[in-house]
Every structure is written in C-alpha cells, then in structure tokens.
C-alpha cells in the first residue's frame, strides 16, 4: 500500500465522521434556511453534518460583516471558515464563499469541498509529502497562508524575477500595470511574501489575489503541489476567466477536460497529450485560485477516441482558421 492509498483510506475514514457546523452573523432568514438545507442534505452528502456550539464546530459559516475579532480568532485555529457575502459583493480571498441567497446546490458543493479539506489535513500518524520550508514552494505556501487569513493581512510585499514589487494589502493584490501585464503573459516569477518597508505605491493597480495566485502557480514548480495528491482525481468547479487571466490553447484544453470529468493528474496528461509538468502547473494554479474539487476516482475516460473524433478535426480546422494553433 503506497502513500496515496494510505491517504485515501484515511480521508475516507474522516469523511464518515459527523462534522460540526456553526453559523454567526447571518440574517435570521438566511440562518433558518441554512439549517433547513442542512437537514435536507444530510444523507445526500458523503459526510454527515450537524449544527453545534462554536467551541465544538469544525467549520464556521459567518457573514462577511461579522465581528472581525471572532473571525480572526477562528482563523488562528486553522479550521475552515465559510464567508457569506451579498450577491453583488466582490469575492473575498477566503477559499470558501457563499453568496446570498444561499442555494442548495451551492451549499452542497461547498460542504463537500470543506469536508475534503478537513479530511486531507496532515495527520500525526501519516506524514504527507515532506515540505522543505526553504524549497521552491515558499512563494506559493506564503501566498496560500495569506489567502487563508481572510484578508486581515497586510501590507506585504514580494519581489518578481525582474526586481519589481507585488503587494497584498487586506486581501487585495497590487502591482504596476507593466508588472501585471507581464504576470498575465507568464513572464515573471514571484518570490515569497513578507513584511516589507515599502508601502503600496499610489500608482499600483489593484487586482484579485486569486488572479495573483493563478499567475504565481502557473510559473511555479513543475511538480504537483504538496497539498494535492497524485492518486486523487480533480475536476474544475469553476472555469478560470481566461479573458482576464490570459489563456493559451493548451490551458483551455485542460480546463475543458477537467470541467467535463474528474481526472488524476497522470490521466489528464494522457487525455490532453500534454506534458505532466504542464498538467501539474495547471492543477496547482487552479487549486490556488480555489477552482478545483476532489472527486472519487472512478473509471477514468479513455483518451484515444478524442484524437480521432469529429470534434477534434473540427477544433483543429477551426484553430487553423482562427490562427490559434497550439
């Protein structure tokens, strides 16, 4: 039994435990609706859930306008926080967000993702792949930790490979226009974030921390990120906005496959006929931007038919016509 099998068994065992959930700061109607949905959903989810007191909760669902002291205290405990925001509010950096009015499907997907994260936390019994604090993962790890702090951190600065700065202040990223353009084109690497003497320059433009996470991971290590597993299948829960982030044909192909089905990294590489290193970077980036979910490993689609399909010929001809040959 290799490490992936051990992790899978461990995760399955944790998923069978009942998880506790507590909510604060929600309007009365929303809170009642949430509790009703939990009752309806129990039995339909891989992990059972029940409401409980804050002290015993595994997950806190809180309105974004809740007492910052309570949110900060919860965040320090390292347990997942689900932020509830209004329909038109900008998305905060928290990886788990629900928009009001909360819908059953939205809640169901969210709870499955949270349960998956809880199940995949490092355990004392089975150490996960070793992480070297000085490794090439430092930029991503530092950014990941910042994003988990739900926007209370800053200002922090990182240096790009051409010596420019990228800042994060209270959940928003900032950079010079030219730096952002080069990040979008995949031309820059970004170092680890740390407290720096320089404040955010007035000329810097604001952009989403999720976008920054995408850019950094896409230019990051070619190995699978330590928080992902080779034996686990992943699918996209939402597409990257390639209009905003920039997208090559190769990335669009990966996203299309990963939105249609859950794949292990190796099978996704096989299906897309792309190098495993590129697939790793895609999954790392999608994971950092909160776009992927784990899914049970089922029968994996075979890739051979795709190459000869009617649509493949159509896509190939269309790309040649559009001048977007990969």
């Amino acid at each position: 039994m290799d490490m992936n099998d051990v992790n899978a068994h461990e995760r399955e065992a944790i998923q069978m435990q009942t998880l506790g959930i507590h909510d604060i700061g929600l309007p009365v109607d929303a809170s009642r609706a949430l509790h009703s949905m939990l009752q309806v959903l129990n039995g339909r989810l891989r992990t059972p859930w029940q409401t409980c007191h804050l002290d015993r909760a595994d997950v806190l669902i809180a309105h974004a306008a809740s007492d910052p002291a309570v949110l900060a205290s919860w965040s320090r405990g390292g347990k997942p926080l689900v932020l509830v925001i209004d329909e038109r509010a900008p998305r905060p950096t928290s990886p788990f967000v629900l928009r009001q009015p909360i819908r059953v499907m939205q809640l169901m997907t969210m709870l499955e993702s949270v349960a998956e994260q809880l199940a995949s936390r490092p355990s004392a019994v089975q150490p996960r792949r070793a992480r070297n604090p000085d490794s090439t993962w430092m930029p991503l790890e530092s950014l990941r930790q910042l994003m988990a702090r739900h926007g209370d951190a800053g200002p922090l600065v990182a240096t790009t490979s051409d010596g420019c700065g990228v800042w994060i202040d209270r959940g928003t990223a900032y950079a010079a226009v030219s730096t952002l353009q080069r990040l979008r084109l995949g031309e820059l690497r970004v170092g680890a974030f740390a407290t720096g003497p320089q404040p955010v320059p007035a000329s810097a433009v604001a952009f989403s921390t999720f976008d920054l996470a995408w850019f950094v991971a896409l230019k990051g290590p070619t190995e699978l990120a330590p928080w992902l597993e080779r034996g686990t299948a992943y699918r996209l829960r939402r597409w990257p906005d390639f209009g905003r982030l920039g997208g090559t044909s190769a990335l669009i192909e990966l996203a299309a496959l990963a939105s249609a089905h859950a794949w292990t990294p190796a099978r996704l590489a096989e299906a897309s006929c792309q190098p495993i290193e590129d697939v790793h970077r895609f999954l790392n980036a999608a994971s950092m931007a909160g776009l992927v979910v784990n899914a049970p490993v089922t029968a994996q689609p075979r890739a051979a038919a795709a190459a000869t399909s009617m649509w493949s010929r159509f896509v190939g001809d269309l790309r040649r016509h559009l001048g977007r040959v990969a």
Binding site: R88, L318, R324
Partner: protein
C-alpha cells in the same frame, strides 16, 4: 440540422439587447453578415439606434471544407420563439452579457436555461462585456451563480469588438465539444 451533419456546424450567439452579438459575428464571419436590424423602439432596455429582430447570420469555411454557420438571435425576450428555432441543432451557444446591466444575473439564468435544452451536454460559453466599467459585476459572481445551479460553464471577460476575444470564445466552445467526446464520458 444535427451538429456535424453534412460538414456543417451551427454556433449560436445569444444574449440580451446591446450585448454585442451582431458585432461578434461580424468579427468572425468571412462574408458580410446577413442582418435583420430595425430601429430600436425599446430605448428603456438599451439605448441603441438599431436592434436585431430576426437573426444575424455569418459563415466560416474551415480548411477541411467544413462550414461553421454563425447565428445571432434577437435579444429581446418577446422574440424568444426565435431562440428555440435558432437553437435547435446547434453545436453550441455563446451567451454574451453586459456586466454593467441591472439584472444581468437573471439574464444569465434566462439564456442558460433557454439554450441548455438545445445544445448537447452543456456546450455553452459565457462572454462577459464591459467588465472594466464602473458598477460592473465581476466574472466570479457569474461563475459562482452557475456553480450554485450545478453548471460548470466558462465565463470569460471579453471585448467583442476585438476579433481575438471572439476567437477565444469560439475556441473555448470548440474545446468543450472536443472534451465531451472523450470516450467514457456520460452522454
């Protein structure tokens, strides 16, 4: 017309009035698009001079001889019967939305529901315009709305006046169609 029958594919551009359907088709078509625009009498919905009431039609001939027909629907809901006519047999649909319009999330639901019934296995791409203008809703809100309704569809910030952006929408749609034919996927 079934997708791919007799070497022809149909792609439908849809969305509310003023979202850029006619512009997008003109950006791609190799021939001057057929247009059915008349004077806009519904200035409350969108302040533009002309609007499509029948259909727009453009064409792309691919190197292999296949023809892609590009159809644009009327945007107003009172012409919904045209959505069904044009959506029938389409390989896929591109829904164009204006991120600054009030009620744009409701429009998203309306057009996704109208065309999900026609295109095979959710071959739909959302093109979101005017995302840089004040008051625009971020593309994340659209993606999350779709996720909450059980859809995993691409939402791409685009400017349909730029041919490159329209090409991005079409290429994304083509990749979805290709991915869906991967053996073993549920039909």
């Amino acid at each position: 017309m079934n997708p791919g029958v007799q070497g022809e594919f149909k792609i439908v551009f849809t969305g509310p009035m003023g979202a850029g359907k006619t512009t997008a088709i003109a950006a791609l078509s190799e021939v001057e698009p057929v247009r059915t625009e008349v004077e806009n009498t519904d200035r409350m919905s969108h302040d533009k001079e002309f609007t499509t009431v029948g259909l727009d039609m453009g064409r792309i001939t691919l190197p292999g001889g296949q023809v892609v027909r590009l159809y644009g629907t009327p945007g107003q809901a009172r012409f919904r019967f045209m959505w069904d006519i044009l959506g029938r047999g389409a390989a896929g649909a591109i829904i164009l939305l204006d991120a600054t319009q009030a009620g744009v999330l409701v429009q998203l639901d309306l057009f996704v529901d109208a065309f999900a019934a026609h295109v095979p296995r959710g071959a739909i791409v959302i093109g979101l315009g005017r995302t840089h203008q004040p008051g625009a809703l971020a593309s994340d809100a659209f993606a999350e709305r779709l996720e909450a309704r059980g859809f995993t569809l691409p939402v791409l910030s685009v400017d349909v006046r730029k041919r490159r952006d329209v090409m991005l929408l079409v290429e994304t749609l083509a990749c979805i169609l290709e991915a869906q034919t991967t053996e073993g996927l549920p039909s």
